[in-house]
């Protein structure tokens, strides 16, 4: 999270300070929504190869990824499914889960295949 704060220049303290996260009612620090979104796109770019083929990407932030201060951290599991191909463009639907919880909603991307 600290690394993403630096890379993105989003220095909201709730992403690296448990004290600030608790002050607004979170159990501990939470991942940046944009980290959760950005990391999820790897499922798509690993499949399509060239990230320049990504035409669009949408997500809804349904719940934060709570990150405990442990060696193990927390696991976010991403999956993507091709829902259709038309005119050389594949539509994909993505999911992101933290345990039982969906952390992204209605996530979808379009990629150029030609």
């Amino acid at each position: 999270m600290v690394r993403y704060s630096g890379a993105s220049t989003d220095f909201n303290e709730i992403h690296f300070s448990d004290r600030h996260a608790r002050a607004i009612g979170l159990p501990s620090v939470v991942a940046h929504g944009m980290w959760t979104m950005g990391a999820g796109l790897k499922v798509v770019t690993d499949w399509v190869g060239d990230p320049a083929r990504v035409l669009s990407y949408f997500v809804r932030f349904t719940r934060p990824v709570v990150v405990p201060d442990t060696d193990e951290g927390v696991e976010v599991v991403y999956t993507a499914k091709v829902t259709g191909v038309e005119d050389g463009v594949a539509k994909l639907s993505l999911s992101a889960h933290c345990g039982e919880d969906a952390v992204l909603g209605a996530a979808r991307a379009e990629v150029r295949l030609d």
Binding site: R3, Y4, G6, A7, S8, T9, D10, G33, M34, W35, M37, G38, A39, L41, K42, T45, D46, D50, P51, A52, V54, L55, S56, Y57, F58, V59, R60, F61, A106
Partner: protein, 143 residues
């Protein structure tokens, strides 16, 4: 007067261009744990969601607009949509222009959709559309 549908269509002057660098691309790719070779080497491109780094800087105009009465620490990012026209590359001087696209009020909540147009040399590179949920403090409810 707080933000309302009247502010739809308001556009803000672009901040000075953001110049993309190879080092920042590599740093961002590592932060999202993506080792795709396209982000490294001699002729890298930026990970698609790197556009958010530049777009989010343009949000500053929104929070600096005192007429709207918005506070960053009462704002949640509820959804994000990108349309990509071409990848960002080192040396690109990216101009980000923010406009207010939609405003809906529900009690003391305001749902605000903002569009950030990212262009390089006047050509579109990416549109980053975000919905922000803002909670207005009770005392400001003076309609």
């Amino acid at each position: 007067m707080p933000i309302s549908a009247e502010h739809v269509g308001r556009r803000y002057p672009a901040a000075p261009p953001y110049v993309v660098s190879r080092a920042k691309i590599a740093e961002f790719a590592r932060a999202v744990r993506d080792d795709n070779p396209a982000y490294f080497g001699d002729d890298p491109i930026a990970p698609p969601t790197f556009a958010a780094v530049i777009a989010a800087q343009a949000w500053g105009a929104l929070f600096d607009d005192e007429e709207l009465g918005l506070a960053l620490n009462r704002t949640m990012h509820t959804d994000q949509n990108f349309t990509f026209h071409r990848p960002l590359r080192p040396g690109d001087a990216v101009v980000a222009e923010l406009s207010i696209e939609k405003v809906r009020g529900r009690g003391n909540l305001e749902m605000i959709t903002v569009l950030v147009d990212l262009t390089v040399d006047g050509e579109p590179a990416c549109e980053a559309r975000s919905t922000l949920m803002h909670t207005r403090p009770e005392e400001a409810d003076d309609e």
